[in-house]
Amino acid sequence: MVLYDVTLPGNGPGTIECPQLQCPATFPNARFSRRDIDKWEEALQVGPEAAKAHLEISGALTMQHMPGCPFRCLPPAVLALCGNEELLAQLKKVGAVLDDCQPSGDSASGPADDA
């Protein structure tokens, strides 16, 4: 705490949270851009291996998602920059490429903030 007091007023860049309501996963708010999302979509088009490699490089696999969290298969840039509709569309895209990431059989519930 003493260290904190003498080094203020430095400020952190903020944190992004997993969009899933009950999921505690977080990631530092890095300098994300739409270009990161384009690269992710390119990797998805190449195939499952490229998608997995991209997820690893992006830091997605270091996020502490709850078991079965549908958003664990998306890179942090997507979680940070996509609105709710786009997030659901991204889940469908990744589910079509990575078997483990297929959305559950139930239809998605209306996003709490877009109801």
Binding site: G14, Q20, L21, G68, S104
Partner: protein, 190 residues
């Protein structure tokens, strides 16, 4: 293979919830104070630069620091307009109007924009404080090599700059969850 849960998207909010207030405080209270201090130092050097060992370097550092701090005030204010909560929406729209106008969808987009712009304000603010510490450190360089106490004061300031740099690095890699020892597999690691 883990059964995936149904996507249930929560509202986008600052994390932790007090973060927005904390950054707003640095941009609206701390930054103007530090800018004032920096500009005072500029005035002192311009009036009499013979008292400083490296006046040009100190001036350069302190001027860049002021520019960065002022920029953080402005970028922070620009970002702040994108951050509002349900209370603000309720003050301007009835529930039905808000729904029909898609205000909550817009709020999500605005929140994402705030987080992006506020990050820039934070980076610029941090750069400004670092430059100011370095400027103070060079201003303390004694003209006389034997002024041991002045060298100690300058060294301490430099050391505090290093601590600040370490602290900022820590803040930029801060994780609120426990970092797993190795990356989890896609099946959720269960």
């Amino acid at each position: 293979m883990t059964q995936n849960l149904k996507p249930e998207i929560g509202p986008r909010v600052p994390y932790p919830l007090g973060y927005a207030e904390a950054t707003s405080f640095t941009q609206t209270m701390t930054a103007p104070l530090l800018t004032g201090a920096a500009l005072t130092l500029v005035g002192v050097i311009i009036v009499d630069d013979t008292k400083f060992r490296v006046p040009e370097l100190t001036l350069l550092l302190v001027v860049t620091s002021s520019i960065a701090l002022i920029a953080s005030i402005q970028i922070g204010a620009d970002a702040r307009k994108y951050l509002y909560n349900r209370e603000t929406i309720a003050a301007w729209y009835t529930e039905d109007e808000a729904k029909r106008a898609g205000i909550l969808v817009r709020r999500t987009k605005h929140f994402i924009e705030w987080r992006k712009r506020n990050r820039l304000a934070v980076v610029v603010f941090n750069a400004g404080t670092m430059l100011l510490i370095l400027a103070v450190s060079t201003a303390l360089f004694p003209r006389d090599n034997h002024a041991v106490v002045r060298w100690i004061a300058s060294g301490l300031t430099l050391a505090s700059a290093l601590v600040e740099a370490w602290w900022l690095h820590h803040l930029f890699h801060e994780r609120f969850d426990e970092t797993p020892e190795k990356p989890k597999p896609l099946d959720g690691g269960t």
